[in-house]
């Protein structure tokens, strides 16, 4: 028994499929790139600055929290970077630096870490941060005001505000093609519809997000907007407009699909997405806010635990 080699003793199973949280994070960031690159092309260096600051400050907040809470450093899993990146995508290009830093603090510390870090957050951290920012500094999300210094080759009006204030006449000049190709005013990474769809499909095919949530979210938006549009087409825009404007696509593919705040069972995923879509259009059409995606996502995050109780009977039950 002397000079025995030491072997590793651990528990079954003795193999793993190699998936990692960091892998999920990096692919999510990769999928968001097309939309962000177009935003940076349109708005130039300030947009680049906002995105870069958002990612780096989010990671620094996470690191700072790790240190203060004496936790192992967790920025390596890429989750903080994803949160920063998504936060940056939703910002106007002219966001002041301190707004970005406070926003990522809200996302990382308030949205995620105080609930115990990754996996513990009941709400999408990005949605929490944006919602607090929207309530605290309304002006930052007035895209017409924020981007007034830009003169790009498309109508420089924020479609959702125009719709809210002046009805469908005001948006008749905006074609679906323009919306799809990012020729609209909005957040840095939230205007390029085609890019977001490609990114979302990539994540779905690779299995990093669930199609059930994204598709039912978009179906919810489509059906509700269609019903409003049928009831009063002068006041309420059509379903396609609602899908390609504001944060709808970012919400459907990147925010609503946040792992810890979304359901895992099949029927709950459909209900969750559907409710999110319905709430989005209800807030847009009936509420005071031009865009309802963020609040809709907070609402569905809130009901997620109850939805997730709908589950198949386990074997032998």
């Amino acid at each position: 028994m002397l000079n025995q080699k030491k072997f590793i003793v651990s528990h079954a199973p003795f193999c793993h499929d190699g998936s990692r949280i960091s892998e999920r994070s990096y692919h999510t960031m990769f999928a968001a790139l097309p939309a962000i690159i177009l935003g940076i092309c349109q708005y130039g260096a300030p947009a680049m600055g906002v995105v870069a600051l958002a990612i780096s400050s989010a990671m620094l907040w996470e690191l700072a929290f790790n240190r203060v809470a004496k936790q192992p450093v967790s920025i390596g899993d890429g989750n903080a970077a994803v949160i920063g990146l998504l936060f940056g995508m939703l910002m106007p290009a002219t966001m002041p630096w301190w707004g970005v830093v406070i926003g990522t603090m809200l996302a990382i510390v308030v949205g995620k870490q105080i609930f115990g870090g990754i996996g513990g957050n009941p709400f999408s951290p990005v949605a929490v941060a944006i919602a607090i920012m929207m309530l605290s500094w309304k002006g930052f999300f007035d895209f017409d005001e924020m981007l007034c210094s830009y003169e790009l080759d498309f109508a420089m009006i924020y479609p959702l505000t125009a719709l809210k204030n002046f009805g469908t006449d005001a948006i008749s000049a905006i074609s679906t093609g323009d919306l799809l190709m990012g020729r609209q005013v909005g957040g840095i990474g939230s205007t390029f519809g085609l890019g977001l769809i490609i990114g979302g499909l990539y994540l779905i095919i690779r299995g990093f997000i669930r199609w059930e949530i994204s598709v039912s979210f978009l179906v919810g938006v489509f059906v509700t907007a269609l019903l409003f549009n049928i009831s009063d087409s002068a006041k309420y825009a059509g379903p396609v407009f609602h899908i390609f404007t504001g944060y709808t696509l970012v919400g459907a593919f990147f925010l609503a699909t946040d792992d810890s705040s979304s359901p895992v069972n099949c029927i709950p995923m459909f209900l969750y997405g559907l409710l999110g879509g319905v709430m989005t259009v209800l807030i847009r059409n009936l509420g005071v806010y031009a865009d309802g995606v963020i609040f809709a996502i907070l609402v569905i995050n809130l009901v997620n635990p109850i939805f997730d109780k709908i589950r198949p009977k386990a074997l032998g039950k």
Binding site: S10, I21, I118, G207, K313, A314, G316, K317
Partner: protein, 477 residues
């Protein structure tokens, strides 16, 4: 290591099969032959590009001609585990001479015994701790002198009964347990003979089905006669069905093919697929009137009564570091280091030795560990292939929920288990529906030891229940 598919030999090409119906990728490979026969090589690879598809794992499939397994010569010393804790003053003493096939009972109370697999002298009797606090009495026998066979069973075997199987053959290859058949409270209506191994990468029972048809047939007709169970079913992979025509020739024996995808060969899955019976939560298959026996166990019974000799040679699959497999025949009690030496397996610091298969086996800390009657496989993993577990929490991605064959909401269950709330885990999130396949841990993105948490929860609850029952008993007394 594992991708959502497996490599299969198809007309000389290696084909990647995925659960997703995509054009299969074709690769040309040299034909791989071990022990002079072809194996369907199962390569464990990474998560597939198309993560939307559920991973599928196929059981080992034995195709091709029969062959001779690697025979390990009789070791210098064997170690046998008696299934009860060590107590002072056993009936068998150090220095006692024993013969091959001799039944050794150690304590006056209780009917546990071991069968000596060699002729020699008892050299030590000591306690041994297994997984989950199981304690055994380890008996070492030094091999000495000419091999002699004990006659006790030979006389007893003239009139076979179930009690004699229980009294003599518990410790034979495949461990044929007769307790379920002898239990008068829970009558057994069906015996399922498993011609497939429970875990991946193992071919032991398939080999037995292919090579020991006569012994199995003999064992089946004996069991049928003795137990009076009319319905006997042999479950085996579809690939083996063609070659297994001669098995179970007697009437009332049903041959059934089972799905080659893991975990179809776990007893509770077989109950559902083959018999259409769902085992209620917390019940066993025996409660439902079904008894599962490995093909090797049945073959042991058959050959024991035919030859009037207790079989002591165990067949097992050795899975080497490069995932190649060798079938091995060895005496029960042989230290696994002897097998490694014969089959050219070199071990380094930090490797992992697994008794059993990759999904449900258990790792041991020493290469002195002996082969037991139910050791169907030994797997060796190189240090660099050992997948680490992490202390990350569950991120609720739902991979485990989607792969769970028992439809448990694992993501919630593991939260309760992690927090030590075992009662709630059982009451609210179906702890006892778990069939222990280990797939949840396999796909866990956080790298959590999900399967271990579940097993620990069951173990802890059992402990509490036993303690409560004892307390009640003392109060009543």
């Amino acid at each position: 290591m594992l991708e959502t598919g497996c490599w299969k030999l198809d007309a000389g090409n290696w084909k990647l099969e995925t659960g997703f119906k995509l054009p299969s990728l074709h690769f040309k490979f040299q034909s791989t032959t071990f022990n002079g026969f072809e194996w369907t090589l199962f390569i464990m690879v990474k998560r597939s590009f198309f993560g939307l598809a559920k991973p599928q794992f196929r059981y080992e499939s034995l195709n091709g001609k029969p062959f001779e397994p690697e025979k390990i010569s009789t070791p210098d010393r064997v170690t046998l585990f008696l299934k009860r804790p060590f107590a002072p003053n056993p009936l068998v003493r150090t220095g006692d001479k024993v013969k091959t096939g001799q039944k050794l009972s150690f304590y006056e109370d209780g009917d546990e015994y071991v069968i000596s697999s060699v002729t020699g002298t008892v050299s030590s009797i000591s306690p041994y701790m297994g997984d989950f606090g199981k304690s055994y009495t380890a008996v070492s026998i030094d091999v000495a002198g000419e091999e002699e066979t004990d006659e006790q069973f030979g006389t007893a075997a003239e009139e076979p009964t179930l009690e004699k199987i229980k009294a003599f053959l518990d410790f034979t290859p495949g461990a044929p347990r007769m307790d379920a058949l002898l239990d008068a409270d829970k009558p057994i209506k069906t015996i399922v003979v498993c011609g497939i191994d429970r875990d991946l990468l193992i071919a032991t029972n398939q080999y037995v089905v292919k090579s020991r048809v006569e012994a199995i047939n003999n064992g089946i007709s004996l069991l049928k006669k003795l137990s009076g169970v009319a319905h006997i079913m042999i479950a085996m992979p579809r690939a083996l069905m063609k070659e297994a025509g001669s098995i179970g020739g007697a009437a009332g024996v049903e041959l059934r093919a089972i799905d080659a995808g893991y975990p179809a060969s776990l007893p509770k899955m077989m109950m559902k697929e083959l018999l259409g019976k769902v085992v209620p939560e917390g019940k066993t298959c025996e409660d439902m009137g079904v008894c599962f026996l490995n093909a090797e166990a049945v073959a042991s019974v058959g050959s024991a009564f035919k030859n009037r000799k207790i079989p002591v040679t165990k067949t097992l699959t050795l899975i080497k570091k490069d995932m190649t497999k060798v079938l091995v025949e060895t005496r029960i009690g042989t230290p696994i280091s002897d097998i490694f030496n014969t089959c050219d397996v070199s071990l380094d610091q930090g490797d992992r030795i697994i008794i059993g298969g990759p999904m449900t086996g258990s790792a041991v800390y020493s290469d002195d560990y002996p082969v037991q009657p139910d050791t169907d496989a030994i797997m060796v993993q190189a240090n660099e292939d050992v997948s680490p577990v992490s202390d990350y929490p569950c991120i609720n991605c739902g991979e485990c929920v989607r792969i769970c064959p028992a439809k448990i909401q694992v993501s919630m269950l593991v939260r309760f288990c992690e927090a030590g709330e075992y009662e709630d885990a059982a009451d609210l999130y179906d702890l006892y529906s778990c069939i222990e396949c280990g797939l949840c841990s396999f796909v866990c993105v956080s790298g959590m030891p999900v399967f271990q948490y579940i097993r620990l929860a069951k173990y802890e609850l059992d402990r509490v229940r036993i303690a409560e029952a004892e307390e009640e008993a003392t109060e009543n007394a």
